[in-house]
């Protein structure tokens, strides 16, 4: 009994209960705040470094791809003037967001390359012989299919 009382009010370190609670509370608050602060700083640093390492190069790459695509289409137009086409792929989802735009550009490039080779012409008033309105992934092709079905591009 005596031991229990001593333990409750006077610890191995000579602190009474109030002192222990105050000391423990101080370490608790400073500790969790420091961990959050350090990891939040890391988050900030990684986000800044993403701008330089991902966003800007991505933008440049996209611009370059668009330029190459336009050049490619121009070549195709100069070769073919007949048979206007309306090649709009099946539409379900609306393209939106960075990765969606990239994917749309890739799909557009693929279709443009195909149509240019097959001799399809550009409709009047358009820079491309078609417009990617939206696209849909075919379900069940592989494990990736379940990863993000609901994602909007």
């Amino acid at each position: 009994m005596d031991f229990a009382i001593r333990t409750l009010f006077l610890s191995a370190n000579g602190m009474n209960l109030t002192e222990r609670l105050l000391y423990g509370g101080r370490v608790f608050i400073i500790g969790i705040a420091t961990v959050f602060a350090v990891l939040a700083i890391l988050w900030g640093v990684i986000s800044i470094f993403k701008i330089f390492m991902y966003d800007i190069p991505q933008k440049k790459a996209r611009k370059k791809a668009e330029e190459e695509l336009s050049a490619h289409i121009s070549d195709g137009q100069s070769k073919n003037t007949d048979a206007p086409v309306s090649a709009a792929p099946a539409a379900v989802q609306t393209p939106a967001g960075d990765s969606g735009e990239v994917l749309a550009a890739v799909i557009a490039a693929a279709i443009a390359a195909y149509t240019a080779e097959s001799g399809e012409a550009v409709p009047e008033g358009s820079t491309l012989p078609f417009r990617v309105v939206s696209y849909r992934r075919v379900k069940g092709a592989n494990g990736w299919s379940g990863a993000n079905d609901s994602q909007s591009f």
Partner: protein
């Protein structure tokens, strides 16, 4: 002739153990039972076998009467006499130097770094906050352990770090702040890590709604090789400048990762991932187990450590889940709160638990890679918490 036989018999462990049956004999027998139980859990139940098995064997070796393989008293003095350790020490004393000098946990972190893919974290750095939230249990358990009055603040800090769910980190902190509690804390930490699939799901279900559990997260962006190379250097620099005491862990973790991602040190990376970490794991397990002598382990404190460690694990899980829930609200429902529980380190088991629980409610929802972000963030978070405890002016 008879004298030689008697002399031999007197030197046997059986004679030493049963020559005078007292409380010491009983304690030794209990330690044999505990070692046997750990061997069963490691082999029979596959609970963290890579570490629990060496720990159990170390425990058995240190408690065999007359073996004199380990002497804890050589290491708990203010000034360690390394000459005496080398001269008088047994096999396990020599191995224990790697723990005492903080070498093994850091080397293990090199291996863990080489095995870890930080891509999900680089792709979604917000995960770092979940890793921070999941350190709540560390400081909660510290508070509780200190409040009991049984433990000194240093011992309470060593108990709290169990909540980081990171064995090497717990060992590094404990060998510095509370070496006599090393075996109890290491065993508690590794046991709870093995029990994560049982400990976490009830909290995950309790703290999330069915709708939240079914949230599908946006696909992670691709990460370039340059980003992967710069990331470990950046983290080392940032954490090192703010919490230098965390560097033995973070520096080694990031070095190991750099070996893996840079693409020009494949041999070193493979060595770190395989031979190096395996060899050191054997040394670490044996020497940690060796500290579990009957007198040192069978104390009331050990039971309290087991309870406080469990509380640390549970509160860390809750902290991660609540942080993920808050982030889900702030991002307009884009984060599945189930990935919050992965914020406790225990890579990759905690992330697998998030994936498994998520798929119970939507079998086509893949949360694993999303959960790996908080999971590896938890490793960094627990190392920062450890660095804080090590640098604290006790």
């Amino acid at each position: 002739m008879l004298e030689s036989i008697l002399n031999f018999l007197e030197n046997t462990g059986v004679y030493r153990l049963f020559s005078s049956i007292d409380i010491g004999t009983l304690k030794t027998v209990i330690m044999f039972i505990i070692a046997g139980a750990l061997i069963y859990l490691a082999i029979g139940k596959k609970f963290e076998p890579l570490l629990l098995l060496p720990i159990a064997i170390g425990m058995l070796l240190t408690n065999l009467p007359g073996a004199e393989m380990f002497h804890l008293d050589l290491f708990i003095q203010e000034e360690i006499n390394y000459g005496a350790v080398l001269h008088d020490g047994g096999f396990l004393d020599i191995l224990y130097l790697g723990v005492k000098l903080g070498i093994y946990p850091s080397i293990i972190f090199i291996g863990i770094g080489a095995m870890t893919d930080f891509t999900p974290l680089i792709s979604n750095p917000k995960s770092l906050l979940i890793g921070a939230g999941a350190q709540l249990g560390v400081f909660f358990a510290f508070f509780v352990a200190l409040a009991t009055g049984v433990f000194t603040p240093q011992e309470a800090a060593s108990i709290g770090i169990i909540g980081g769910a990171d064995g090497p980190t717990a060992i590094l902190v404990t060998k510095t702040l509370a070496p006599t509690l090393l075996s109890a804390i290491a065993i508690a930490a590794y046991s709870y890590m093995a029990l994560i699939p049982m400990i976490q799901p009830p909290f995950m279900k309790l703290l999330t709604t069915k709708k939240e559990r079914c949230i599908r997260m946006n696909a992670l962006r691709t990460v370039s090789k340059t980003e992967k190379i710069i990331f470990p250097i950046l983290v080392t620099a940032v954490v090192g400048l703010i919490v230098p005491d965390a560097l033995p862990l973070i520096g080694c973790l990031m070095f190991g990762n750099l070996l893996n991602v840079c693409g020009v040190t494949d041999r070193l990376s493979k060595t770190a991932q395989n031979e190096l970490i395996n060899i050191v794991t054997i040394f670490l397990g044996l020497s940690v187990g060796a500290t579990a002598s009957a007198d040192n382990f069978l104390k009331g404190k050990t039971i309290l450590i087991i309870f406080c460690g469990l509380a640390a694990f549970c509160i860390s899980t809750v902290g991660g889940l609540l942080t993920a829930k808050i982030m889900n609200k702030l991002t307009g429902g884009k984060i599945n709160p189930l990935i919050g529980s992965a914020g406790v380190s225990a890579v990759p088991m905690a992330a697998r638990v998030s994936q498994k629980v998520g798929q119970q409610y939507d079998p086509s929802n893949f949360l694993l890679m999303h959960a790996m972000g908080p999971n590896v963030a938890g490793v960094i978070g627990s190392a920062v918490a450890a660095g804080l405890f090590l640098s604290w002016n006790w």
